[in-house]
């Protein structure tokens, strides 16, 4: 809502020196969000006067047509002689009244004006356009004033060019501040001054001979005021002062009748509609739409109506979408002059509608037809249902005053019974909400200031004014008191929560995981969870892979990425590619976050969340229904890496990142979680089929790691041999991390034995190791693979695995026989399980 200070001062007698900024500060403290205070004509300086064009000489020979004009500016130039002015605009004729700026003046910008040589003449000033005067930029060409003004009249005052405009972002609860009246009320309270309420007008009582109106849906329309004005001069224009106020408030002057309805809406907050009475067929009827009905609205769009849409109709059908936008069929007609007869035709009779519609019905129509309007904005936020009569009267008065019309005596006012809504609060309720003592007297005074009727002692019965439909609950009243007493005055105290338990195990694990991976050289990224089909294709996923079953956005930011991620890898790989594209060579990234999975959910309940009531706690069953409507959202952790894991340096060559680093990153996560990870060979897209490790905790598959498939690498333009790991944190920790028993440290000496075994190349090292461990028995303290050999000495398709075994007993020094016995047992188990042979 844009509020010109000059307009507001009409209703509140603010102190003379008070600036727009001063007022804004006070209003902000009272809870109005004043976004800007615009200074109109701040650097404007005269002389800027009305001129009458006496003569026009067309200059030729230039790139564009130029006029050399003589303009009568009265005595404003000190001589009374006509002013010679060169002008590039053409929308004026001899005899027109224009706005002339004389040498010595300064236009907004600031642009100082002086006499200057141009197009072979001396131009003593300028004929001004609206844009040059800071009046808005919608008009091309210069301003042509109504004929009645005298040359030499000061145009700064005439056009009200110097003003301040407060731009206020009105919150949803303060619909009344979408009017100068409402903001003036807040200003009056802030300054403790009386308000001259512009809605306090003499209004004739309703009678039976006003315009015919039938309200068939009183729930949707609980008030309908209609008035008629006849004998309007079709060519009458809005007076300058009215145009200027509308302009400053951010609306565009259109035609007299429309300008007047807009003006009254801005003034009182009551949206009005003006119909050309000659185009209405029968009674104006308010009802809901019927299936299939159509309406061409003022913006020229034909709209198919919904049965919930609230309509204004006549015998011909819908003539307006109630409270949202009028229909084209009953629009006020523009005055048209018949070139042959010279007769002017246009609207001469008007019906003014000032109604009150159900906010919900209006809001739904706006959403349904995507048709926000100034009227609908006000109805949605709540219009004063008592303002309609005054608003209609104000519009009638203006039509009579400036359009030469005659008000009809008939007054239609249809009102559904309106229950009086009172709120009962303890007089100290605001004190208890604020944590500060105001006292009953202050509470009552503040509530009365906002327009409430207050009765009672320790318990107050408060009846809010008609313009405050937002005041429904005790806390609404508390807020009124607290904001007017000042939020800045609130004391600062600390509550005392019960002792807390700190972070949960899952939260601590997330921190440990982040620290461990960052400590291992990975950089955390937080990617958008949006992915597209192409990346899943690049991953080579089967058609029935659950990762293809995505939750989709109805309104994605990008049509390329309309789905929610089912895996963290697409985002991480895109971030990897971005870093490489920006010149990085060795990149290791990680992310922890949610994936969105449909697999494992019940299609019978998925995406079918009930709409529960809010006047009670939902039952546990109802809460379960809400949860059952959601996809699975497992928390996952993933790493990607490319280039060198260790860089080249003065110490020698670096070490390229490999599948093993990806597996190692999984071990890092598992170590942070305190669980034992085992690895099995696997084939799983998008990993390289020969370099893909399945990660297990016990018998539970928790994720995969390894080198990416070369096709995926190519399709996604990744560095060669890019590696990745992803695992499900919840599966990883499903059994909880193992409880650690304090180890007994043996002080007896260690016995070390080496074993080299030859196995088929296809036998996984992990199997050989677990066989050795199983066979070696409890004396085995540790086991480490220290060499892998392939080559001629052992034959094709074979590999030799060399292990160092360390044996130790808790209670004695092992004999040589005991140590070799355990070694033999380990070998025997490996031979039995894996077909290994001892390397000679």
């Amino acid at each position: 809502m844009r509020v010109p200070l000059s307009w507001l001062r009409e209703y509140v007698d603010l102190p003379a020196g008070e600036s727009g900024r001063d007022l804004a500060d006070k209003l902000v403290r009272a809870g109005l969000e004043v976004e800007t205070v615009e200074q109109l004509g701040g650097d404007l300086k005269g002389p800027l006067v009305v001129g009458k064009v006496l003569a026009i000489e067309e200059l030729t020979g230039f790139k564009k047509p130029i006029r050399y004009c003589q303009v009568d500016v009265g005595d404003a130039n000190g001589t009374g002689e006509p002013q010679n002015i060169v002008c590039g605009a053409r929308n004026f004729a001899v005899g027109d009244k224009v706005v002339v700026v004389l040498p010595g003046a300064v236009l907004p910008g600031p642009f100082p004006i002086s006499a200057r040589q141009t197009y072979g003449h001396t131009s003593e000033g300028m004929i001004c356009s609206a844009r040059e005067l800071g009046m808005g930029d919608e008009h091309d060409g210069i301003i042509v004033l109504p004929a009645e003004f005298t040359p030499g009249t000061d145009a700064i005052e005439l056009l009200e060019l110097v003003d301040e405009v407060l731009d206020i972002a009105v919150t949803a609860d303060r619909g009344y501040c979408l009017s100068v009246r409402g903001v003036a009320r807040e200003a009056a309270i802030a300054y403790d001054l009386p308000l001259s309420d512009p809605a306090l007008l003499d209004v004739p009582p309703a009678n039976s001979y006003g315009p015919l109106v039938k309200v068939e849906d009183p729930a949707g329309c609980d008030r309908f005021v209609a008035r008629g004005v006849v004998g309007i001069e079709p060519t009458a224009l809005s007076p300058l002062w009215l145009q200027r106020r509308i302009q400053k408030a951010g609306m565009r002057p259109i035609s007299l009748a429309v300008d007047i309805t807009n003006y009254v809406m801005l003034e009182l907050g009551q949206p009005l509609h003006a119909y050309d009475r000659s185009r209405i067929d029968g009674a104006i009827t308010v009802r809901r739409a019927r299936a299939g009905e159509k309406l061409r609205t003022l913006d020229g769009v034909e709209r198919t109506l919904d049965v919930e849409d609230l309509l204004i109709c006549d015998n011909s059908g819908p003539i307006g979408l109630a409270g949202v936008m009028g229909g084209a069929g009953t629009e006020i007609a523009t005055a048209v002059e018949d070139p042959e007869t010279g007769r002017v035709s246009g609207t001469t009779e008007v019906v003014v509608e000032a109604a009150h519609f159900d906010p919900v019905a209006i809001a739904r129509s706006v959403r349904r037809h995507k048709l926000p309007s100034e009227a609908a904005k006000r109805f949605e936020r709540g219009v004063d249902p008592e303002a309609g009569k005054a608003a209609a009267q104000r519009a009638v008065d203006l039509l009579v005053l400036v359009a030469g019309g005659t008000a009809e005596a008939g007054v239609t006012d249809i009102a559904a019974p309106h229950p009086v809504h009172s709120i009962t609060i303890a007089a100290d309720h605001p004190d208890r909400v604020a944590g500060q003592e105001y006292g009953r007297e202050t509470v009552v005074r503040r509530l009365q200031e906002v327009g409430c009727t207050v009765v009672g002692g320790d318990v107050l019965v408060v009846t809010p004014p008609s313009w405050r439909p937002d005041l429904t609950d005790p806390n609404d009243l508390a807020e009124e008191v607290i904001r007017l007493e000042g939020y800045a005055e609130l004391p600062s105290t600390l509550p005392t929560p019960p002792a807390g338990k700190g972070l949960t195990e899952a939260q601590r694990l997330r921190r440990r995981t982040g620290l461990a991976l960052a400590g291992a050289g990975y950089v955390e990224v937080l990617n958008y969870p949006f992915i597209g089909e192409t990346v899943l294709d690049a991953f080579g996923l089967d058609a029935d892979d659950p990762r293809r079953e995505t939750v989709k956005l109805a309104n994605p930011i990008s049509d390329e990425e309309p789905s929610l991620r089912t895996t963290l890898l697409p985002g991480l790989l895109a971030a990897l590619r971005r870093n490489v594209g920006r010149g990085a060579t060795d990149v290791a990234l990680f992310e922890q976050g949610l994936a969105f999975r449909v697999d494992g959910t019940d299609p019978g309940t998925l995406f079918k969340a009930p709409r529960l009531p809010v006047d009670r706690r939902p039952t546990d069953e109802e809460i379960a229904q809400l949860d059952a409507a959601l996809p699975r959202q497992p928390r996952r952790v993933a790493t990607v890496l490319a280039g060198n894991r260790e860089p080249d340096g003065w110490w020698g060559k670096g070490r390229a990142a490999t599948w093993a680093d990806a597996v190692e990153s999984a071990r890092t996560v598992a170590a942070a979680a305190g669980v034992e990870l085992t690895v099995r060979q696997d084939q799983h897209a998008p990993w390289h089929p020969g370099r893909c490790a399945a990660l297990y905790v016990g018998e539970t598959l928790v994720g995969h790691a390894g080198e990416l498939h070369p096709r995926t690498v190519k399709a996604l333009h990744l560095p060669e041999r890019t590696c990745a790991m992803e695992l499900d944190v919840e599966l990883l920790t499903a059994d909880g991390s193992g409880h650690v028993e304090g180890p007994r440290i043996s002080g007896f000496p260690v016995a070390t034995q080496d074993v080299a075994l030859v196995v088929d190349a296809a036998v996984p090292a992990a199997e050989v190791e677990s066989a050795l461990r199983a066979g070696a028995g409890p004396l085995l303290e540790s086991l480490r693979l220290f060499d892998v050999y392939t080559g001629e000495q052992i034959g094709a398709d074979k590999k030799s695995l060399a292990y160092a075994l360390r044996f130790r007993a808790p209670d004695r020094t092992l004999t040589a026989d005991e140590a070799s016995g355990a070694r033999e047992a380990a070998i025997a188990e490996a031979v039995a399980r894996t077909g290994a042979s001892l390397r000679g």
Partner: protein, 374 residues
Amino acid sequence: MSAPNKSYDPVEVEALKPEEIERLRDEALAAFEAAADLAALQEAKVAHTGDRSPLSLANREIGALPPQAKKEAGQRVGQARGAVNKALAERRAVLEAERDARVLTEEAVDVTLPFDRAPRGARHPLTTLSERLGDIFTAMGYAVAEGPEVEAEWLNFDALNMGPDHPARSTQDTFFLKDATGHSTDGVVLRTHTSGVQIRSMLAASEPPIYVICPGRVFRSDELDATHTPVFSQIELLAVDEGLTMADLKGTLDHMVVSLFGEGMKTRLRPNYFPFTEPSAEMDMVCFNCRGESVGNPDRPCRTCSSEGWIELGGCGMVNPRVLIACGIDPNRYSGFAFGFGIERLLMFRHNVEDMRDIVEGDVRFTLPFGMEI
């Protein structure tokens, strides 16, 4: 080895004569002094203190002497051997120091060679800043609550006093969802704030007190630009207990900004409107950079607060009793307060980050300097 011999006359034993003992001692001292390195000293040690050295041999003769002579000879030889051992130790210390000085000099390296062999990693500053906030409140006794990012509309809107026709609901730029086959979904959205977690916390608690903070990612269908991102991080706080007031809300906010930015920091509340709180407020904090001293002081402009002296932080208020009712909490007995703000903005002004895109794009050059904690 000689056996004791009662008829043995010490005067007869040449090796135990005082002059002879002195001579042997002096020879040893001279030999040590002459040893040029540790190897030579070792040779001299064997020659003069070893089992077959003259002094050792002399020492062995003592046992055969009669008691009186034994004592005298013993003292003499003992003193001589003591002097020899002392000289040996001193000479060894000198020679070892010389050797060490030489060897350690030879082993010297250029320790300024770059050693960046193990790559450095880092955690994202949004993560660590969110944790930092979490720590402030867990220290006060709050729990950290979390919830799903795809959320039921009832939890994201309705329970928060934003019914289907509430004007505020349509201004949230909500991402709506479709199922895998492209059909629209019923009552499920990408959460627009973490307030659904507040509701879940209240539904889960059998009875207040409830003190939780709810950090998490939220989604609004804004285009990414220098100051907006469709996916951002939020932290919300909820306290429900008997007798909580706006003053408690203010005190909690003050405590938070002091914890984050240091002593002397404070907040300011301005009236505003949110459906889920009543009364509602916008919260500002004193500019931590200029502490408000740039206001009206054109010589010392402040970029952090545009010389306003205050920085807008987020929204807050007393939990609307209607929200409590929807969660089964008696508003006549309990009251609550809540606040929420975006962590990206906090990161931007706390660390002078100019472009939102740097936060979201995952460039390691942005994240690395933030290290492990913030």
